[in-house]
């Protein structure tokens, strides 16, 4: 009985990579803090500002984001289908019901906001609701609820805290020509060091945060598959959303083959997805991970 459960949805490698990324971020931030302490006084002000900003971000980011996205909260009578799908997922995930919002846009997309399970909002665009079949919609909503379960907003906000500080220092130095503090030569040198470290921290943390975000996306895909027991429904939804469903050939292979030889690059918009969601993993990798999950699922009990 226990073996069936653990066989489905295990991926130690992903978790190891994720923890390692977080460790690197922590290490990087320790360097920044060291440099800040070395430069003392003026840097402390920046940290105070950053902590205040951090607080605002943590408390108010969801409301700001919802307003910028043009999302409006919908009641169960406005969107009965969407609510019913989310309610069943909440029973399954043992979550309190989040707020549900819709963005009136044709572009299919979805997001989850809020720092905790109690304050969470899940959001879908009108285009998504119109495009997906019920099972696909369920799997996309399960992906968003997995972000809520994993507290990804909180994790990413905290993870990017020091990157925000580094960015602030760089901006500060840019506006004041590096001359804040003034005074003797030692202090000026220390400040130069802080700026240099900040630039480095910012650059490296940018890459690490992207990597972390991609791992969190994989984890949410996995969470969705475990929650719904339908990895292929999410794969199908991702294909539809990315518009690459057209890539599943409908024409006979012989008629298509002749044409592609005339193009130096196959006429596919393969990279457009990656530019659009650079903090998301490439679609191919997500589909591959989901198809591994489906294979695991299908072979349970054999």
């Amino acid at each position: 009985m226990a073996s069936k459960r653990s066989a489905f949805g295990r991926d130690g490698g992903l978790q190891a990579r994720m923890v390692f990324t977080m460790f690197l971020l922590g290490l990087l931030y320790a360097v920044l803090v060291g440099a800040l302490i070395a430069a003392s006084a003026s840097a402390v002000t920046i940290v105070v500002i950053a902590v205040a900003l951090f607080g605002i971000q943590l408390v108010g980011s969801d409301k700001i984001a919802l307003a910028t996205l043009g999302a409006h909260e919908v009641s169960a009578s406005d969107e009965p289908e969407l609510h019913a799908v989310i309610e069943r997922l909440c029973i399954q995930a043992d979550l309190p019901k989040p707020r549900v919002a819709v963005i009136e846009a044709r572009m299919p997309n979805a997001c989850a906001l809020g720092r905790s399970q109690k304050t969470a909002t899940v959001c879908a665009t009108r285009g998504l609701l119109q495009m997906l079949e019920p099972a696909e919609l369920e799997s996309v909503m399960a992906h968003e609820l997995s972000h809520v379960i994993h507290r990804d907003v909180m994790v990413m906000t905290i993870a990017s805290f020091f990157a925000t500080i580094a960015a602030l220092i760089i901006r500060f130095a840019f506006f004041f020509g590096g001359g804040f503090g003034g005074g003797d030569r030692n202090e000026a040198e220390a400040i130069e060091l802080v700026i240099l470290v900040s630039v480095l921290v910012y650059a490296i943390s940018f890459l690490l945060l992207r990597a972390l975000s991609r791992y969190r996306e994989f984890a949410a895909d996995r969470g969705s598959a475990i929650l719904t027991g339908r990895p292929s429904a999410l794969a199908s939804a991702l294909l539809k959303i990315s518009g690459t469903i057209e890539r599943i050939p409908r024409n006979d292979l012989r008629t298509a083959e002749g044409m592609s030889a005339f193009f130096i690059v196959p006429a596919r918009a393969k990279n457009s997805m990656m530019n659009l969601f650079a903090d998301h993993p490439p679609l191919e990798q997500r589909l591959a991970a989901l198809s591994r999950l489906e294979a695991q699922l299908q072979s349970t009990g054999r």
Binding site: M1, P80, E87, R88, C90, Q92, K97, H150, V155
Partner: protein, 191 residues
């Protein structure tokens, strides 16, 4: 969810709670009947998230066979149906509430023994109020708690006032879910 699970982004689907609180209905219905004129509609259903795998289908088939065999002793009938959300319902008809509870317990323990306890959502017991109005008591397997669900006239409307009254009436005997945001409605109940 602990800090380690959050950092690792690892979620698992919760297994069912101990089922002893399911049996609270076998005694609570006496109070419902005698004090509040709420009688059993003689039908209950269990909602399962059906997986499209051969192993799961085999477990479900075994479960149905076992329940059909035992239902014969109670003079109960068993049927299954799939709803619009892709969930499987196992519906049991039996005039006695104790038998309904026992059979629902049988279905859930059989599915759990098959290794799919985490796919059990809830069980719905249909009752009738004084003016033949529909009242449902829903048992959430994950949390091991009950809540009333009273549909109101109109498309997907519910009578929250009545539900809160029911909580006050039967809360002493039936372990009612304390968090109101977890009183999830169940639409499209196929009975």
């Amino acid at each position: 969810m602990g800090l380690r699970e959050i950092l690792a982004g690892r979620s698992t689907v919760k297994q069912p709670a101990k089922r002893d609180r399911l049996f609270a209905l076998s005694t609570a219905y006496v109070t419902l009947e005698s004090s509040y004129e709420i009688t059993s509609a003689g039908v209950a259903g269990i909602v399962v998230q059906a997986l499209a795998t051969s192993d799961f289908q085999a477990v479900l088939k075994d479960t149905e066979e076992v329940v059909r065999a035992t239902a014969g002793e109670y003079k109960a009938t068993v049927e299954t149906s799939d709803d619009e959300f892709g969930f499987r319902w196992v519906i049991i008809r039996d005039p006695a509430v104790e038998d309904l509870v026992a059979t629902i317990n049988g279905v859930s323990s059989s599915i759990e023994a098959g290794g799919y306890g985490e796919r059990l959502l809830c069980a719905v017991f249909a009752f009738k109020g004084p003016s033949a109005s529909a009242i449902n008591f829903i048992y959430n397997f994950k949390r091991g708690s009950w809540y009333p669900f009273v549909p109101a006239p109109g498309d997907k409307q519910r009578n929250t006032e009545r539900e809160l009254q029911l909580k006050a009436q039967i809360g002493e005997e039936l372990p009612i879910e304390p968090e109101l945001e977890r009183w999830f409605p169940l639409w499209g109940v196929p009975f």
